[in-house]
C-alpha cells in the first residue's frame, strides 16, 4: 500500500530523522485552525482524536478535552469534515484518526471507511478493537486503503506481538507505559529495547507515545524510535494557551525530536 504514511516514514528514514506525531482533539477549541497549523509547526504525522463520551484508555487531559469537544457539538462527521478541510491545502501530511469503536460502529464500519477515505484520512487507531475483534473493521479499511494501526504495550509478549503486528500497516504505536494517556513515561532504555523488538516483529516504523511531555524526553525516545507521539501535553496547551500556545509547544517538541539524532 503506498500512501502518505509510507511516503512520510520513508522520507524520515532517508534523512535519519525521527518523526514527530502530534495528537489533537477534533472540536476542542478552534481545532480546525490548530490542525491546519500543525505541519508548519513541525508535525510529521497528525493524530486527530475523535471525541467519545467514555474514553476509558485516556487520562484526565484527553477525557476533559473530549467532553469539551462534544459539548461544543463535535461529531464523527464533523471530525471527518475537519480532516477534509485540512486536505484541501495539505496533500502530504498523513492524518491518523484515533478514538473508540462505538461512534464508528454506529456509523457502520464500511460507511466510516468510505467517508474517511473521502476526507483524506490515512490511518485509524481504534483503541478498544483488538486484533481478536477487528475482522470487520479491517476488511472495511482495507477496501479503502486506510491503514489499521495497532497498539503494542509493555504487556504484549513475543507470542502476542505476532498477533498484534499481523495485518497491520503504516506504523505500530508502542504505548510506553501500562496506563492511560498522559501518565508518566517508562524509563527510556526500557523503551529502546521494546522499540527494537516491535520493529523486528513488524518490519514497520514504530512510534512511541503515552506520557511524553517534555522536549528532552521526546528527544531521548527519538534516538531509538521512528517517531514520538505527544498528546495530552498538546491538548493541555491548546486548552490553556489556544492555537498559539499549542503551536509553540509543537515547535519545541518537534525541533527536539528532529535534532535528536544529530
Amino acid at each position: 500500500m503506498t500512501n502518505r504514511l509510507n511516503t512520510r516514514f520513508a522520507e524520515l528514514s532517508a534523512y535519519n530523522r525521527a518523526g514527530f506525531v502530534a495528537y489533537m482533539m477534533a472540536g476542542d477549541g478552534d481545532s480546525q485552525a490548530l490542525l491546519n497549523a500543525l505541519p508548519a509547526a513541525g508535525a510529521d504525522v497528525i493524530e486527530l482524536g475523535m471525541p467519545f463520551t467514555d474514553p476509558m484508555a485516556d487520562g484526565p487531559a484527553i477525557q476533559a478535552s473530549a467532553l469539551r469537544a462534544l459539548e461544543a457539538g463535535m461529531t464523527l462527521k464533523g471530525t471527518l469534515a475537519q480532516a477534509a478541510e485540512f486536505r484541501k491545502t495539505d496533500k502530504d501530511t498523513p492524518i491518523v484518526l484515533m478514538g473508540y469503536a462505538n461512534p464508528i460502529h454506529h456509523m457502520g464500519w464500511e460507511a466510516f471507511a468510505k467517508a474517511a477515505a473521502k476526507a483524506g484520512v490515512d490511518g485509524l487507531i481504534c483503541v478498544d478493537v483488538p486484533p481478536e475483534e477487528d475482522d470487520e473493521l479491517r476488511a472495511a479499511l482495507g477496501k479503502y486503503s486506510i491503514a489499521l494501526i495497532r497498539l503494542a504495550t509493555p504487556t504484549t509478549d513475543d507470542k502476542r506481538l505476532a498477533t498484534v503486528v499481523a495485518n497491520t500497516s503504516g506504523f505500530v504505536y508502542y504505548v510506553s507505559t501500562t496506563g492511560v494517556t498522559g501518565a508518566g513515561s517508562g524509563a527510556v532504555t526500557e523503551v529502546g529495547e521494546a522499540v527494537a523488538r516491535v520493529q523486528r516483529a513488524s518490519g514497520l516504523p514504530v512510534a512511541v507515545g503515552f506520557g511524553v511531555k517534555e522536549p528532552d524526553q521526546a528527544a531521548a525516545i527519538a534516538r531509538t524510535a521512528d517517531a514520538v507521539v505527544v498528546g495530552s501535553a498538546i491538548v493541555d496547551a491548546m486548552h490553556s494557551g489556544g492555537v498559539a500556545g499549542a503551536q509553540e509547544l509543537v515547535k519545541r517538541l518537534s525541533s527536539a525530536v528532529h535534532a535528536a539524532r544529530r
Binding site: 463520551t53 476509558m56 477525557q63 473508540y100 461512534p103 495497532r150 503494542a152 501500562t178
Partner: protein, 410 residues
C-alpha cells in the same frame, strides 16, 4: 456482520453460549485496549482451570454455605398474592445473603479466583454500593487490599454503603469524570486496571465487560436459579410459569434465568428501569430504548445518540442506572427466549412501600422494579399461575433516599 461462526463451534443449545470468541450470537466479545488483552486471556485460562478443579468448587461451596448463608429460601408472598389478585407470587430470597444482595455470590467466586492467580490487590466498580460492599467484605475476609470506584453522584445517594465499605477497610474513590455514575466508575476501574496490570484483579459486578466476565459472572450467579429450580420442584412439584428479575447490567436476572433457559415452558422476564418513563428519554432501559454498540469491552445494546455517544442513564435506583446490558441478555432478547419490560421510578417507590407493608420485607429499589411487573403478570396468569421473582437485595441501603423522596427528615 461478524466472522461467520462455523457450524462446529456454534453452540447448539441456547444455554451453551458463549462461543470460543466469547460471543453470544453477535454480542459480547473482547473489545478492550491492547494493554488489557493479555490480562483477560490469562483470566479466561485461570477461570477455565478453576472451574474444572474440584478443590475450587469445594472451597466455593463451603464459603457459600457458612459465610454467605446459602441456600437462600424461596418464600410464598401470600399477602402480595392476595393484593395482586392472581398468580402465586414467590420470592427467591437472595436478599438474605450476607451483605444483603446477590452480589456476594459473584464476589466470592472472583476473589477466590484472584487468590488462586496470586493477585494481591482487588478493584471494583459499584453503583448502588452493593457490589462494592460485597467485594470489600470478601476482600476483608481474605485480607486483600481493595479499592472501589463509585460515581460521585452515587456516593451521595448511597451514603450508608460508602461508610460500610470504609469500615470494611476498602478505599472508596469517588469518580467525578463524565457524569459520576456507574458507567464512569467502570471507566475509572478499567483505567486503574490498565495502570496496575501486574498485581490487580478487577472484580466486575455484573454480566458485562469483556469475555470471560459475562460468562463467569453468570456462572457464579447461577446458584440463584439452580437453587430456586430445585426448591420450586420440591415445594410445588412444578416449575414456575415465569421467572422475573430486575436488570441493571443483568447479573441477578442472568443468574436466575440461566438454569431455566432450556425449560421452554418457563417465561423469563427481565425488568429494566424506565426512570421517568422510556418516552421521556430519562431512563435506563437499554433494550427498550437503545441500539447495539460497543462499550466496556463488549458488544451489546446501549443508550446512545445519533453520533454513537453514550447517553446517561437515569433511574431512581443507583444499581440500575447503567446505559448498557449484559450481552447474553441482548442475545436472549433477539432470540426471543426472554422478554424485557420496564418499570418507572414511581412504580418502584410504590412497590417498595407495598412490599414492606404487606410482607414485612423491605426490598431494595432494584427488585422493587421487578415487583411492579409481577403485579401485572399475576393478573395476566390468573390463580393457577406461579411466578418466581428474585428478591435480589434488601432495601436498608435505600431507606435514607426513600425518606428523602417522601419528604421525611431522618
Amino acid at each position: 456482520m461478524s466472522e461467520p461462526v462455523s457450524a462446529d463451534t456454534r453452540p447448539n443449545a441456547l444455554s451453551a453460549w458463549p462461543d470460543a470468541r466469547g460471543r453470544f450470537g453477535d454480542y459480547g466479545g473482547r473489545f478492550v485496549a491492547e494493554t488489557l488483552m493479555p490480562l483477560i486471556l490469562e483470566l479466561e485460562e485461570a477461570y477455565e482451570t478453576a472451574k474444572a478443579d474440584p478443590d475450587f468448587r469445594a472451597e466455593m461451596d463451603l464459603f457459600l454455605k457458612d459465610y454467605v448463608g446459602k441456600p437462600s429460601p424461596i418464600y410464598f408472598a401470600e399477602r402480595l398474592t392476595e393484593e395482586f389478585g392472581g398468580a402465586q407470587v414467590w420470592f427467591k430470597r437472595d436478599e438474605l445473603n450476607h451483605t444483603g444482595s446477590h452480589k456476594i455470590n459473584n464476589c466470592l467466586g472472583q476473589v477466590l479466583l484472584a487468590r488462586r492467580m496470586g493477585k494481591t490487590r482487588i478493584i471494583a466498580e459499584t453503583g448502588a454500593g452493593q457490589h462494592g460492599v460485597a467485594t470489600a467484605t470478601v476482600a476483608a475476609r481474605f485480607g486483600i487490599p481493595c479499592t472501589v470506584f463509585m460515581g460521585a453522584t452515587d456516593v451521595e445517594r448511597q451514603a450508608p454503603n460508602v461508610f460500610r465499605m470504609k469500615l470494611l477497610g476498602a478505599e472508596v474513590v469517588p469518580v467525578t469524570s463524565g457524569t459520576g455514575t456507574l458507567k464512569d466508575a467502570m471507566n475509572e476501574a478499567l483505567r486503574d486496571w490498565v495502570t496496575n496490570v501486574k498485581d490487580t484483579f478487577y472484580v466486575i459486578g455484573t454480566v458485562a465487560g469483556p469475555h470471560p466476565y459475562p460468562a463467569m459472572v453468570r456462572d457464579f450467579q447461577s446458584i440463584i436459579g439452580r437453587e430456586a429450580r430445585a426448591q420450586m420442584k420440591e415445594r410445588l412439584g412444578r416449575l414456575p410459569d415465569a421467572c422475573v428479575a430486575c436488570i441493571g447490567g443483568g447479573s441477578n436476572a442472568m443468574g436466575l434465568f440461566h438454569p431455566f433457559i432450556e425449560d421452554e415452558e418457563v417465561r423469563l422476564i427481565g425488568v429494566e428501569a424506565a426512570g421517568e418513563g422510556v418516552e421521556t428519554g430519562k431512563h435506563a432501559a437499554s433494550l427498550k430504548g437503545g441500539k447495539p454498540g460497543i462499550l466496556h469491552g463488549n458488544k451489546t445494546y446501549l443508550l446512545q445518540d445519533d453520533d454513537g455517544q453514550i447517553i446517561d442513564a437515569h433511574s431512581i435506583s443507583a444499581g440500575l442506572d447503567y446505559p448498557g446490558i449484559g450481552p447474553e441478555h441482548a442475545f436472549l432478547h433477539d432470540m426471543k427466549r426472554a422478554e424485557y419490560v420496564s418499570a418507572t421510578d414511581a412504580e418502584a417507590m410504590e412497590m417498595f412501600q407495598l412490599c414492606t407493608k404487606l410482607e414485612g420485607i423491605i426490598p431494595a429499589l432494584e427488585p422493587a422494579h421487578a415487583l411492579a411487573r409481577v403485579r401485572d403478570l399475576a393478573k395476566e396468569l390468573g390463580k393457577d399461575g406461579v411466578i418466581l421473582m428474585n428478591m435480589c437485595g434488601r432495601g436498608d441501603k435505600d431507606v435514607p433516599q426513600v425518606a428523602r423522596m417522601l419528604g421525611v427528615e431522618l
